[in-house]
């Protein structure tokens, strides 16, 4: 449980951090909240020669609405999301998500940027961000900056579209429409565990009919899984129980679980079905003004 030797760098600015990454190359890792990286280092599954600590870059810690987007700085902590009034009021799916990550001690330090940039399909925010059609903002050397659609971000287990010398700086989420609701439901073996499976759902309604939907799944594939067929089947309907059943089955089909300690493939598909059904119903209720 003792990591190998490493050098520690504490840049004062984002540019300085990016320059360090650029200079140090693949031997460097970004240290944000540290709650994914440090356990791997303690088990010597990761042995980076350099850690670039961005936790002191206070300009990456913000929650604000701007130009039609909710903008989350990469260093916003899970507890920051959990305790934000804006999030509770307008983005309850994000509160749902951060509340079921690990435990309060971890959430006080763990960052939303890290949760996404780590590229772990067992993490909770990735599916939620897929359901929310988020955009990942990334900064690179020489002041370069690019926006990556969330659907293009997750490439494989612990593998993302992020370059070696890039830092995820912001997540942009389209502001909700008039009548919309979202919800994240996770099943875990005990508090603090990764999900057996979890389902993130967002729904927009126009004139009583579902106009758009996002459904994505946690820890049932090499990346977070968007259940596109399940999304589509809801569009244009009033999201009746029959349609929910159909969508839940389609989500179960879209999932690609493998059997492990958390359950067999068959069981996990069953859980995806159950949770997706419940999440759609709850998202619908929220869209209609309920909790």
């Amino acid at each position: 449980m003792i990591p190998g030797a490493f050098d520690y760098h504490s840049p004062k600015t984002l540019d300085e951090a990016i320059n360090l990454l650029n200079d140090l190359g693949e031997d460097a890792k970004i240290l944000a909240g540290g709650h994914s990286l440090l356990p791997m280092m303690k088990w010597r599954l990761a042995e980076p020669a350099h850690l670039v600590d961005i936790s002191r870059l206070s300009d990456l810690d913000y929650i604000k609405e701007e130009n039609g987007f909710l903008c989350l700085g990469a260093m916003v902590t899970e507890s920051g999301l959990e305790n934000s009034e804006l999030i509770a009021e307008k983005y309850p799916i994000l509160k749902d998500t951060s509340e079921v990550i690990a435990d309060p001690l971890v959430r006080n330090l763990a960052s939303i940027g890290g949760n996404i940039a780590h590229g772990d399909p067992a993490n909770d925010h990735p599916a939620t961000m897929l359901a929310l059609n988020a955009i990942v903002v990334v900064c690179g050397p020489n002041g370069s900056k690019r926006e990556i659609n969330i659907d293009e971000f997750f490439l494989g287990p612990l593998w993302t579209a992020l370059g070696e010398n890039e830092i995820l700086t912001e997540i942009k989420i389209p502001m909700p429409k008039q009548q919309s609701g979202g919800c994240y439901i996770k099943l875990e073996r005990k508090v603090g565990d990764y999900a057996i499976a979890a389902s993130a759902v967002t729904l927009d309604f126009e004139n009583g009919k579902c106009s758009s939907s996002g459904i994505a799944l946690t820890n049932v594939g090499p990346t977070p899984v968007r259940a596109k067929d399940a999304q589509d089947v809801l569009i244009g309907t009033d999201v009746s129980n029959e349609v929910i059943e159909q969508a839940s089955n389609l989500a179960a089909e879209a999932s690609q679980p493998v059997g492990d300690h958390r359950g067999s493939e068959e069981y996990k598909r069953g859980v995806v079905k159950t949770l997706t059904g419940r999440a759609i119903l709850k998202a619908k209720n929220r869209a209609m003004g309920g909790n």
Binding site: M1, L187, K190, D193, G263, S264
Partner: protein, 788 residues
């Protein structure tokens, strides 16, 4: 409490006084092994085997030795020079300290790196190059005795299979006859998986050898410091360690639960390293080492059968068990009991006869198994009987409570001789179950369940009416490596009337510093705050076998009472001298002797203590102290009835324990608050294996649950609100009528929860589910018709 004999200030038995030890614990000022720092101390870390069974072809230490800070690498060859590469287990088996030519379980110690700090030794173990040649493994204990199974213990002369021992109890023929003549026979194979105590503090030690004086001091995480010292003297006498030169100190311990009874290889390597180098050596396990390599508990495969009549009369019990001991029998049972007290499996019921047999086998897994918060295999026994009784109830369609009530040993049948040879001291099983049923509203719950079932909801009610057997034990039957299982108390009253009391036991969180002081307060009237309690230092404490198996109150607690009575007898002589009267004219009430009929003419225990040093009668020795070694005449038999109510989410298979009523009877109670705390903790440690915990292995013998990622210790979130109550049936043979309580809840909770889950699913035809009851097992039971 009106029944208390002493005032709250004196704080004798029955007072919920605050724990004296908590003043330092809640301030973070306890002293645990890892807090011990010695001048010039070096550190040790251990290279462990990635294979479950493999030949060691070579160990290359060159790179490790070249690493800055690394001072030495110790291998089996190093230890062999001192004949310390093997050691005995508590069960008179042997196990490797470090291997010479092969490893027999994953995470087994292979070599140790000594260095100047934790970091360099952690780097050093990565640099030790070990070349292995994998061997075929034995993982499934049922295949361990197959003719083509590789012999794991080919180091043992005459060991021609992986079978270790066979043990049986009861009358086989008479039991068979009962089975032939009963209406109903119910059978089930019940598995209690490997689990781990997972105490907050892992194991470790600081070993300091003084080459000038030949003195060895070892601070270590042990529940039995005296026994450890004697074992060290016996196994290392040939290298010059003799018992008077060995001091074992067990400082504050962060949870033991049986896991700190055995001697682990790490301790021995650290001791050897300090003897060889003359430097203090610190070794502290990390969490994974603790979970993966230290002694496991349970791992019993039990084929259980009950013979009953249609009217619900339980006639006979038969259990055939396969015990997976891993690479060595490193259980911590009394010597004559290779399967511990497993024959308590007839439980709270008046069976006509019973026959129980256990076979121990070797497999390529870590050695064990310890008695995890359980008096030697009682958890397994209670699980078997309490599950089987429910299965009989289901079979003959009788209410599970009614069936129990019908078959309980009646309270006027005590002392009760069980068909497997135990003499139960006292009990009132009907009262405990009735109280639990009344408290929880059993009849209303049955109604609620019926309504919910009609609506398609899953709710279950589970009962467990357990009988424990603790307090090992009488010297005629109980010893560990020949040392009798008495325990001791040495009490010295100072001139000012304060006292110091020392014991052969060792608290790991049980609250001995408070409860022993309360026993002394009860017996002598000295306020419990005036009594200092010390344990754990072999240089100062009287000899005793330590704390496990709920034995502290039954043995050392009894010794305290008996030592007090010796002190009181002497105090009476001094009082007679001070009051210028004869002993016959004196009477005792809490804390003082007075002249019969003249209550004003009295001397307090404090007056007497002062006189013992300043004005003792001629012909009597000065001072006021006594030592007692208590050899219990019998074991004690705590009992209780637990009722669990569970709700099941049919969509996910999640089980929620909605209510849990625990009625315990541990005889007379010393400190009700501490007893309740013990019960809360124990129930949580019973919930854990019922729903969450298991250490499992894949086909290659790789541990698949060897970290807290996979070994699911429940948190406060998973833990239900525990409801507790009690009945009090004193032990007739114990000096203060107490029985011990620490383990009852761990033993009693799992079957109550399993019975509730099975009850919730019984209308689907579910008869039994092995623990841990994961959401998937429940989900499958509900959806079995939908899935392939």
């Amino acid at each position: 409490m009106s029944k208390c004999k002493t005032s709250p200030e004196v704080g004798g038995m029955g007072h919920s006084v605050k724990r004296k030890e908590d003043a330092r614990f809640i301030r973070g000022q306890g002293t645990y092994v890892d807090d011990v720092v010695r001048p010039g101390m070096v550190y040790m870390d251990i290279v462990r085997s990635p294979y479950a069974h493999a030949k060691i072809k070579s160990i290359n230490t060159e790179k490790a030795l070249a690493h800055p800070g690394v001072a030495a690498v110790i291998t089996g060859e190093t230890l062999k020079e001192y004949n310390l590469h093997m050691m005995p287990t508590l069960m008179s088996d042997t196990q490797m300290v470090l291997p010479i030519d092969k490893v027999c379980y994953q995470s087994q110690e292979v070599a140790a790196v000594i260095g100047t700090d934790r970091y360099s030794v952690a780097d050093g173990i990565e640099l030790v190059e070990v070349e292995y040649e994998p061997l075929p493994v034995v993982v499934d204990p049922f295949k361990a005795t197959d003719s083509d199974a590789p012999i794991i213990r080919d180091d043992k002369e005459g060991q021609e299979s992986n079978h270790i021992w066979h043990w049986e109890e009861g009358d086989k023929a008479a039991t068979e006859e009962i089975f032939n003549n009963s209406d109903v026979v119910v059978k089930e194979r019940i598995y209690i998986p490997r689990i781990h105590v997972a105490s907050i503090e892992t194991c470790g030690c600081v070993s300091e050898f003084d080459k000038a004086t030949g003195q060895l001091t070892v601070w270590m995480t042990t529940q039995a410091p005296h026994a450890i010292r004697t074992v060290l003297a016996l196994v290392a006498g040939h290298v010059g360690l003799q018992e008077d030169k060995i001091r074992v100190i067990s400082p504050d311990i962060g949870g033991g639960f049986g896991g700190k009874v055995p001697v682990y290889p790490g301790y021995v390597i650290a001791i050897a390293a300090s003897v060889v180098t003359g430097l203090p050596v610190k070794w502290i396990e990390d969490r994974r080492e603790n979970l993966q390599a230290d002694s496991f508990a349970r791992d019993y495969h039990m084929d259980c059968e009950i013979a009953a009549d249609k009217d619900g009369t339980l006639n006979g019990l038969r259990i055939k068990t396969l015990a997976d001991n891993g690479y060595a029998d490193a259980a911590a049972n009394p010597s004559k009991y290779p399967a511990g007290m497993f024959s308590i499996c007839t439980g709270s019921y008046d069976f006509k006869n019973a026959f129980v047999e256990v076979d121990g086998v070797y497999t390529n897994k870590p050695p064990g198994g310890v008695a995890y918060r359980c008096s030697f295999r009682v958890t397994e026994a209670v699980h078997a009987i309490e599950r089987m009784v429910d299965m009989v109830a289901d079979e003959i369609m009788m209410d599970a409570a009614e069936l129990r009530m019908k078959n309980f040993i009646p309270k006027d049948a005590f002392p009760y001789h069980s068909p497997t040879g135990w003499e139960y001291d006292s009990g009132d099983y009907h009262a405990a179950l009735q109280l639990a049923m009344d408290n929880i509203g059993y009849d209303e719950l049955l109604k609620e369940q019926k309504e919910k079932r009609e609506r398609g909801e899953f709710m279950g009610i589970g009962i467990c009416s357990f009988t424990e057997v603790v307090g090992a034990g009488p010297s005629k039957d109980f010893d560990i490596l020949g040392i009798k299982m008495f325990d001791s108390s040495e009490i010295r009253i100072h001139p000012t009337g304060k006292a110091i009391a020392r014991f052969g036991t060792k608290s790991q969180g049980q609250g001995h510093e408070t409860t022993y002081a309360q026993i002394i307060a009860e017996e002598l009237g000295i306020p419990f705050t005036d009594v200092s309690v010390e344990e754990g230092d072999t240089d100062t404490a009287p000899y005793g076998l330590g704390t496990y198996a709920s034995r502290s109150t039954p043995t050392a607690g009894a010794a305290a009472a008996m030592a007090c009575r010796k002190i009181k007898a002497k105090a009476k002589k001094i009082a007679a001298h001070l009051l210028e009267t004869s002993e016959e004219d004196l009477e005792w009430e809490v804390g003082k002797f007075s002249v019969k009929g003249v209550p004003d003419k009295a001397v307090t225990i404090q007056d007497i203590a002062f006189a013992a040093y300043t004005n003792h009668p001629q012909g009597l020795e000065a001072g006021l102290e006594a030592t007692h070694y208590y050899d219990p005449p019998n074991l004690t038999f705590p009992f209780g009835s637990y009722i669990a109510v569970v709700d099941i989410d049919s969509g996910t298979g999640e089980v929620k324990v909605r209510r849990f009523m625990a009625v315990d009877d541990c005889g007379n109670i010393i400190n009700p608050m501490i007893v309740e705390g013990q019960i809360h903790g124990g129930l949580t440690q019973g919930l854990a294996p019922a729903l969450y915990e298991e250490i499992s292995y894949d086909d290659e013998g790789n541990i698949t649950g060897g970290s807290f990622m996979e070994y699911l210790v429940p948190t406060a979130v998973e833990t239900p609100h525990w409801e507790t109550d009690k009945t009090i049936t004193p032990s007739p043979h114990h000096p203060i009528g107490a029985k011990g309580v620490g383990e009852s809840p761990t033993v009693g909770a799992p079957p109550a929860i399993v019975n509730a889950v099975v009850d919730a699913l019984s209308h689907l035809g579910v008869k039994h589910i092995d623990i841990p009851i994961t959401p998937e097992k429940v989900w499958r039971a509900i959806h079995k018709n939908e899935v392939a």
